[in-house]
Structures are given as structure tokens and as C-alpha cells.
Symmetry: C2
Subunit: 135 residues, 2 copies
DNA sequence: TTCCTTCTGCAATCTCTTTGCAGGTATTAA
DNA sequence: TTAATACCTGCAAAGAGATTGCAGAAGGAA
């Protein structure tokens, strides 16, 4: 598993729990801490929820995962390398769609030019109604 | 107080608590339930937090206030008539800046045309770093 | 005024997340 | 390989934010 290098390089210990959490985030794409725990427990039942929380925080500190707020309140975690899209959150069905970051390029530039605001597109959630639900 | 008509028209009873909550939301511009409660209690100490929550929900149901998720998890309430701007949330200082809705017009159109996604600009929060903090 | 329904305050409860602690384990150095 | 020492984990308790049930209070129509 390639985690070996990544985790050690960041100065982290290589524990089974930590590898599993990172792997789960990568497999799931978008996931709440609870979902990560569920995924991890599918193969390794003993792992505690607080361990998941602590590892998500640790992995975020070293830049391997990131979190986004998608509106319901809870954080959603992503593998850092996969955050190459915007999140389109449907307020009706709760579905999370994707759109390329470029879609927002002009918007981001405008905010920067006019307000000096540097938009963090990776931490960016967009609310609305998806195609399916607007019918 | 103009609340009289508004609340009654919506089929709501006109209680001091309800008027105070609505007024507080209007005065504060952006406010969490806790902040609304604090504001209300400044003049009327006895009001319970659960009353604030229930009234915010009620007022939202009839369209007088709206809430937005600005990222920390908790909801932030606004008077419905004042939601004419985007929220620029600074991830460093937590400051909430404003920008006209038009700033996002092209972006919103693109999402609609390309993905059939109808963006709800009033429920829209943008994360990044404000001018002050990027220095 | 009277009655009915809605609203409020209070306290308990729930969910989500964090924290303290004691024991366990990955790593480094010998 | 062994020993020492941070660092991690599991468990349980605690915090924070929000919700709910209930009994009594108050708004509003007649």
C-alpha cells in the first residue's frame, strides 16, 4: 500500500487504523466521519469512532485529506488529491453533484479583482436544486 | 411596529417573543440562534432559547426569515428581504463579507445551462480568505 | 367575557464531536 | 533483537448545539 511512504513522510506513525481511515476516505469520495467509520468497520469492526475523528483531523493537518461543509452541518471529508471539482448540493434530494473547478474560474477572478477575496474552491459548496428535482 | 400585519397575515399569532425574534434578526443582519437569543434577552431577559429556535423555524416556514450555512456548522439567519447579497466567509478571521448577487450571475447561468442545476443564491456561502487576511 | 388553539418556559433528551486517561504499539537507538 | 519513549487507540465521560414533551399561559374569534 502506497500509504506507507505518504504517512511516514508526513511524520505520522503507520497504524492500521490510520491507513484504513485514509483508504476509506479515498474509496468513498465524499464521506462524513460516521460514514468513514462504517466503511472501516466493514472490515475491521473494533475501530472506535473517536479514532476516526482524530485520524481525520491528523490527516487533514498534514494535507492528505480536506473537509468541506455541505450545509447540513456536519463536515464531509475528501482525499486531498481528488478535490478537483465543485460540489453541487441539491437542497431537495440531498444529492451531491460535481462540476469542474473551471466553471467557477471567472467568478473566482471577479471576487479576487473586485473584493480582494481569495476563494478557496476546494472548500466551496453550492446549494440549489438539481436537474432531477427541478422537474 | 409593522410586524403586526406581517405576522398576522401569515396566520401567526402576534406574541412579544415572536416580534422580538423577528426584529432581532432584522437588526443583526446575520445571526445565529444564540446571537438572536442574546439580542432579545438584552431587553427581555426571560425568553427561552427553545422559543427562539421555534420562532426562527416558524418565521422561516412563512418566508419572513431564511437561513444559510456559513460553514462552521450552525445555521445563520437573515431577514428574507435582506438576502440580496452573497456571503464571503473568511476561513481565517471568520469575517463575513458581502458582494452583490450579480457577481455570480454568469456562474449561476453556466451551472444552469451546463448541468441543469438551479443555484439558490440566497443559500450560498463562499469560503476563502478576505483581503485583510491575505496580506 | 369565554373558549379554544397556539405559544412559551422548563427540563429532559438527542446527536454530533471532543477530551481525559490508562493501556498498547510503532519507531528509534543501542 | 531489545529497550525506551513518544505517539496512538479504545473506552467512557463530557460538551455543544438543537430538539421535544408537557403543563400552564396567553392570543384571538365569537
Amino acid at each position: 500500500m502506497a500509504d506507507q511512504h505518504e504517512l511516514r513522510e508526513k511524520g505520522l506513525r503507520l497504524t492500521p487504523q490510520r491507513e484504513l481511515v485514509l483508504q476509506a476516505v479515498r474509496d468513498l469520495g465524499h464521506a462524513t466521519p460516521e460514514e468513514v467509520a462504517e466503511k472501516v468497520r466493514a472490515t475491521h469492526p473494533g475501530i472506535n469512532l473517536s479514532t476516526v475523528y482524530r485520524n481525520l483531523e491528523t490527516l487533514e493537518n498534514v494535507g492528505l485529506v480536506l473537509h468541506t461543509h455541505l450545509g447540513h452541518g456536519g463536515a464531509t471529508y475528501h482525499a486531498a488529491e481528488e478535490l478537483t471539482h465543485l460540489h453541487l448540493v441539491c437542497s431537495i434530494c440531498g444529492d451531491i453533484g460535481d462540476a469542474p473547478i473551471d466553471t467557477a474560474a471567472n467568478f473566482v477572478n471577479t471576487l479576487s479583482d473586485d473584493y480582494g477575496f481569495k476563494t478557496d474552491v476546494t472548500h466551496f459548496a453550492i446549494y440549489g436544486t438539481c436537474q432531477k428535482c427541478s422537474k
